[in-house]
């Protein structure tokens, strides 16, 4: 599902093209253009490499295109447009619904991805399977480990080597349309009950074993990461009981929620913030009985065809000014204190994005074993084919 990320382009894209036209007409200087579009820093970094400021040599070194594998609705489209304007490298965006799918593609080979966005619990497996490279931090001068929050970023480091740097953290909660669902939903137990009653035929679960099985486990009082056969069997029983009442099994739930085809869904922080921003009746709640807290990372596949461009985009994304715009657009909380300082108060004060610490206490980080456990994979497949 490769697509150019142009839809929902915010106003900044228009401004960018205006500025680009002014630059082309010669009404503004290149310096002005780089300043107003936030491309200055990237250019400054790239300029340290001899010959790169010259755009023809530049294109020769970075190529003209690269590919990133990421999640639905996870980037500001203007970011990639600005990156292309600065470097001449067009970014092809591939979106996925689960980490398993990304792993499967990388295992099969020939993805052509130069950068991808794995979640915390998968990185140790990627390292073990030799699918990702240790990052050359000298190529990422914009990344500063000292300003990162270790709680969210420690899984990017395996055996003292940095294999992945953080994109943002987040939670997996419940989004519900309060115009349609009047009963309060405060837990995963509520979620599955309402899915079979008030939201019959209108609730969605992810097409993703970690969260769908994990949240079913949580609703039954078990650990989000359980791989115990008896607990998984109970979760399977619940999921198969709920299945006829579901609207869909799909990780790309924003379109259905926006069209009010679906009234309630398992939902990641960033999607919750985006939905709530555009449709205030859609609320985002965390399960008081538990659920997932996560952080997503950027990593470079060993098989990347255009590593130079992968590093260039990663370094561009690590610049606090650029990261800030990404965070405002996609609504996920940052792991980087430099970015946090730049973010406007209405973002940092948003309880969906930055919830109270107490509400995070019952949440669990995904465990590496869930990614490769055949029991969970088979359960998910049985649930879907039931």
């Amino acid at each position: 599902m490769s697509k150019w990320y142009r839809e929902n382009a915010p106003i900044t894209a228009d401004q960018l093209s205006d500025e680009l036209m002014r630059l082309k007409r010669g009404s503004v200087t290149r310096r002005h253009f780089l300043g107003v579009t936030g491309l200055g820093l990237a250019t400054a970094v790239l300029a340290r490499q001899p010959g790169l400021f010259n755009s023809t040599a530049f294109a020769g070194d970075l190529g003209t295109q690269m590919s990133i594998a990421t999640w639905p609705n996870y980037h500001d489209p203007a970011t990639f447009e600005a990156f292309q304007a600065a470097t001449g490298v067009a970014v092809e965006v591939n979106v996925f619904g689960s980490n398993e799918e990304m792993l499967a593609k990388l295992q099969a080979g020939g993805t052509g991805w130069d950068l991808f966005v794995p979640t915390n619990y998968t990185i140790s497996t990627y390292v073990k399977l030799g699918l990702i490279d240790e990052l050359d931090l000298s190529k990422l001068p914009n990344y500063d480990a000292a300003t990162e929050t270790a709680r969210f970023t420690n899984e990017g480091v395996v055996d003292g080597k940095t294999y992945a740097v953080p994109k943002n953290w987040g939670t997996t909660g419940i989004a519900l349309n309060s115009n349609k669902i009047k009963t309060p939903v405060t837990s995963w137990k509520d979620f599955f009950e309402i899915a079979m009653t008030e939201a019959d035929g209108r609730a969605m679960v992810h097409d993703y074993q970690l969260t769908t099985i994990g949240n079913a486990l949580v609703s039954l009082g078990f650990s989000f990461n359980s791989i115990k056969p008896d607990e998984l069997a109970k979760a399977e029983e619940l999921l198969i009981k709920v299945k006829p009442h579901l609207y869909a099994i799909n990780s790309d739930y924003q379109p259905s929620m926006r069209a009010t085809d679906a009234w309630m869904t398992m939902c990641w922080t960033n999607d919750g913030a985006q939905l709530n921003r555009d449709m205030p009746e859609i609320q985002f709640v965390l399960g008081k009985d538990g659920g997932e807290i996560w952080s997503d990372f950027y990593a470079i596949p060993k098989s990347a065809a255009n590593k130079a461009a992968g590093y260039a985009l990663l370094n561009y994304l690590m610049a606090p000014e650029n990261a800030m715009k990404e965070h405002i657009a996609n609504g996920a909380p940052t792991t980087d204190s430099r970015v946090l300082k730049l973010l406007p108060a209405d973002v940092t004060g948003n309880k969906i994005v930055y919830p109270d610490e107490a509400s995070l206490t019952p949440l669990e980080f995904g465990a590496a074993v869930t990614l490769t456990d055949p029991g969970r994979a088979e359960l998910m497949a049985r649930f879907k084919s039931a």
């Binding site: 499967a104 295992q107 074993q209 609207y247």
Partner: protein, 288 residues
Amino acid sequence: MPAATNTKRNLVTAALVAPAAAWLMIFLVLPFIAMLVFAFGERAPEGGYQAAFTFAQFANLPTRAAAFWNTLVLAPIGALACLLIAYPVAYYLAVKANPRYRLILVSLVVVPFWTSLLVRTYAWMYILGSRGIPNLLSVIGIEDVRMLNTPGAVLLGIVYGYLPLMIMPIYVSLEKLDRRLLEASADLGAKPVSTFFGVTLPLSLPGVMTGVALVTILLLGEYLIPQLLGGGKVFFIGNALVDLFLQSRNWPFGSAIAVTLVAVVVVILMVAMRIAFRVAGTRQVDLV
């Protein structure tokens, strides 16, 4: 010099066949052999394939019984629904339509193929979604109707997507139908209905069988329509395969299912061909 001519002729034949043979070898036979090898292997601990010789994957097939059942029921139902709609259309095009406009009308059947099925299926998602038909229904007071992500939506998508593939073979077999046979039937006192069932329908059966086999076989591997219009809840073998390769990374089991599916398709194709040939064959004799 007959020997030399023969050699030359053989060389020409070989040269003409070689590209197709190489193509089939590289893109059909070799992948199929790989699939067979995988089907007897084991899932590696982190997913993928690891060498082994076991029938465990085939023993595991019953766990996907629901997917096989859905597919083996919905594929013929879909093909039958296509047939019921396609036959009158093809009949009209071949027999009733004004010959001056026939070419245009036939082209119109093919026009949807100019747009990707994915895009057209997304259009159906919109039409069946809350902002589409249910929205119109709410205007006349019928609230909260759900059409998308139901088996009915999948069937609709199937009929919509595969209709042209059914119309074309039937149209072709009806179009070359000898009109004098219809006139003879009428001259001998048959009513239009008995002419249709006694002459037209039997003569078009090869086209019908081709259409049904074509649509059924393609439907057996369908993935897109159940995924988009069934919300991932109406599960076909195609969806099971995607899950096995892209989620659980169980290549050997996925290969075993794929091999089984190929076997099923071959059987269906053989039966369909036999029926089609027999029907065509006997009629041919009658005509002579």
